[in-house]
Symmetry: C2
DNA sequence: CAGTGGTCTAGACCACCCT
DNA sequence: GGGTGGTCTAGACCACTGG
C-alpha cells in the first residue's frame, strides 16, 4: 500500500487549517504503517496533486512534521521519514556524560539477563497489557565504557508488542535498542518521560555495578512512548555517578 | 532608540538567505537592547518596508525567532519579545514534581543567606569575571511546599552583571529570580545546562534541608546562559528526593 | 542532466482582538 | 471598525543531489 494510491479530501471550509489536516493525514499514514521509518515520501509536486492544494500549504504541513522530528527534508534528494538510525537519534535518549566533559561516549552494552515473566499490576496498567497475553520480557543491561560499568538498565516490555524477541536477537543487534524496536517490531519510540531520584544502591544492583552496597546512585524511571501516547517500554536506570553525570540542556524553546 | 529609526540593508546576492539575515538583525537588536523583553515589535507591513522584502520573507524570519522562543506572535495583537513573566517560562527551568504526580507546584522560596565574596578561580573562569571587579554574590535559597523544604539552591552571580543587587530586592520580588534578572538587570536567561549526580548530603545542606546527614540527594549543577552563550549564573541545587522527583520529558524533536 | 527541496514574491481573504 | 497575525495561492528562480 502506497501513499499515492490513497484518496484524500481536504476540506477548506472547516476550522482546522488545511495544512494541519494534511499534517494529520500524513501522521496517520505513519501510524497505519503506510509510511515507515527511513522511507522516501512523494515529492512536493505529487503531494500538491494528491491533496489538491497549493505547494505552500504542502510545505507548511511538511514543515510542521519536520519540526516534530517525524520527517526530515534533504535538499536535492527528497523528504524522508525519520528513523532511529540517524546520527541525531543516537544520543537523543542517552544523557550520560563523563564528569566535566562535553564528550559523549557510545556505551558498551552487555546483556546481563533476559527472561519472560507474568506481568505485575503496575506493568499491566502502564503497558496496557491484554489479559489473554500477560507476559512481559525483563531485560537487564550493563552499560559502561572501557570495561567499567557505570549504569544498569532494567527494561520491561510486553511480549504482545514484541513477539518472538529472543536473547540472540537482542545480543546480535548492531545498533541501539530503539533501532531494534523500530526495525524488527515496527515500534517507534517518539518520546520518553523520566523521573529521577537519588537512592542508596541495593544488593542486587551494587553487585552488577561493582560498587559497595549503600553507595548513592541515580534511579531514573523512564516511560517510553510511541504514537498516540501509548507506553511501550518501562525502563529503570541505576547510575553510579562517580565518573559519569546525567546531563540536560534546556532552551527557552516553546518545544520540549 | 526604536527599531523603525534604524536603516537595514538586506543583501539578496549573498549566500545567507534574506530571511536569516533579517532574523539575525532582529536578534542583534535584542542583544543591543533596542528590543526588550515584553516589547511589541513593528507589525509585518512595517517590517516589509523596513527591510524591503516581501511579507513571506518577514514571516519566515519571525517564524524562526518564534521557534527559538525569542518572539511570540499573538493574533490580532502583534508580535512580542518573550519574557520570563510568561506562563510558559515559569516552569521552563523548574523540573521538580511530587512523586508519581503530574502536578507542578510553584515552590515556596525562602532566602537563607546573601553575601558578597571574592570570586574563586572556577567562578572567575566560568562567569568571565574581570579582575577590576572580582566580587560575586552567593545566594542560598530554600525551596519547599507546604512548609516542607525539599531543595536548597546555591546561586553565584557576578556583581559586575548585577550591580546594586540587595537582599531586599531579592526578598521583595514577586516573580521568579530569572524574571528579576531580566527586569532589574536586563539579563535574559536564554538557556541552561544541568549536570546531575547522586551524593550523600553534607552537614551544612542537611541542616538546611532538615534531614539526617548522609541521606542520598541529587546534586544538580546548572550553568545559566544569556545571549552569545555567555554564562551569567552558577547554580547548585541539592534536592531531597524523598517526596519530590526531577522530571524530564524528551521528544525526538530536532530542537530541545 | 533531470529532479529535488529552498527561497522569494505579491497579492487575497479570513480570524482574532481591542475600542 | 480598524488593525493585527494566520492561511492560502500560483507562480519564479536558485542550490543541491545523484547518475
Amino acid at each position: 500500500m502506497s501513499l499515492t494510491d490513497l484518496k484524500f479530501s481536504i476540506d477548506p471550509n472547516i476550522k482546522t487549517p488545511m495544512w494541519l489536516q494534511i499534517r494529520n493525514e500524513l501522521f496517520d499514514c505513519l501510524y497505519k504503517d503506510i509510511l515507515r521509518p527511513g522511507q522516501l515520501i512523494p515529492n512536493e509536486k505529487t503531494l500538491v496533486e494528491l491533496f489538491n492544494v497549493s505547494i505552500g500549504t504542502i510545505r507548511k504541513a511538511i514543515g510542521a512534521l519536520e519540526k516534530e522530528g517525524i520527517l526530515i527534508r534533504k535538499q536535492g534528494l527528497g523528504t524522508f521519514v525519520c528513523q532511529h538510525d540517524d546520527q541525531s537519534f543516537l544520543f537523543k535518549f542517552f544523557h550520560i556524560f563523563f564528569n566535566d566533559s562535553d564528550v559523549r561516549h557510545i556505551p558498551e552494552v552487555e546483556l546481563a539477563s533476559f527472561e519472560m515473566r507474568k506481568a505485575n499490576k503496575t506493568e499491566m496498567k502502564l503497558l496496557n497489557i491484554p489479559k489473554e497475553n500477560d507476559k512481559v520480557f525483563h531485560i537487564y543491561n550493563k552499560l559502561g565504557f572501557q570495561g567499567k560499568v557505570h549504569s544498569v538498565d532494567k527494561i520491561v516490555i510486553a511480549t504482545a508488542k514484541f513477539p518472538l524477541l529472543t536473547k540472540e536477537i537482542l545480543v546480535n543487534r548492531h545498533n541501539t535498542i530503539y533501532n531494534l524496536f523500530q526495525n524488527k517490531f515496527n515500534v517507534f519510540i517518539t518520546h520518553t518521560s523520566e523521573r529521577i531520584k537519588a537512592t542508596l544502591v541495593d544488593k542486587k544492583i551494587s553487585q552488577m555495578l561493582g560498587i559497595e552496597m549503600g553507595t548513592p546512585i541515580l534511579k531514573i524511571e523512564r516511560l517510553g512512548y510511541t504514537f498516540h501516547d501509548e507506553i511501550v517500554e518501562l525502563r529503570t536506570s541505576y547510575v553510579n555517578t562517580t565518573e559519569v553525570e546525567y546531563i540536560r540542556d534546556q532552551y527557552s524553546l516553546v518545544g520540549e
